[in-house]
Amino acid sequence: MVVHLEYYDVDVVELEPLPPNLIAIEGLPDIGLVGVISSFHLIEKMHMKPVAYFKSVALPPIQSVKMGIIQEPMAAYSDGKLLIITSEVPVPASIVKNLSRTIADWLYEKRVSFAVSINGYPTQRRIEIQKPEVVGVSNSEKGLEILKEKGIKPLEEGYLAGIFAELLSLLKDRNIDAYAIIAESFPTYPDPGAAASALEALSKLLDMKIDVQELLEKADEIRLNLKDLSAKATQNKMEAVPSMYR
């Protein structure tokens, strides 16, 4: 069956001016929602506020409500040091390419110092793993050396698929160093344990303390709240990403 996929534009709406040299963190819905869980943990712990949001006609007609005010579900948050891009709604397959390009162009325009994507990689035997392993990928030789220096094991060989893969490449084109931190994760369930491992690796990379204890304590609540988003993110990923022959 031939599936014709429409590609839709994505716009960024800024809520306030941003300083240069922010560290961008991408945590959009993907395997195990590792990026989403990590992002919202950082946003909450560091009292970040929304600084921009992403609009596309392909996004579902949903608005979050916080303290009586709508809050765009796909947004960027900042505390003046980090710039976190995440979403409370799944990313439709029809905007993956354009969203990646929009984010890359925006990060270039905002002159971020570097970018980090947080992701999960599906592990069938995850239930037997107490502490998920994390691997790192960079888009430059210099970045690879930094990963090693910080004690993050590089992914020796394999392939990446999804927005973060596209972003690594697009940011390389724009001379922005970018990393992906990828934790072993349940393939289709929200995985706060994987997010905790990913955040520990992020804390090494950024030289900043990130407390993950609360994340682990709230793991059941997080898994329940993110059940539907996880199911939809898995389905969208399968639609958007082809297999690779090696």
Binding site: P187, R223, N225, K227
Partner: protein, 64 residues
């Protein structure tokens, strides 16, 4: 308040078995899980160890 939550689940088929995994938040003890195998059906009931106050309807979700 949620009365029933359908868990995320995966089913694998091997040469001689079906392997079913489910994500069961707020289930900490095997005794909270009841399994009923029928002829063409497997019913699994798990009672969460705390109440969850989250109402979700078509197009509207309310917390608290």
């Amino acid at each position: 308040m949620i009365d029933n939550v359908e868990p995320l689940s995966e089913i694998y088929e091997t040469s001689d078995s079906y392997i079913i995994t489910m994500d069961l938040p707020f289930i900490t003890d095997k005794n909270q899980i009841e399994i009923y195998a029928k002829e063409n059906e497997l019913e699994i009931i798990a009672t969460m160890n705390r109440k969850v106050y989250w109402s979700s309807f078509e197009g509207f979700g309310r917390k608290g």
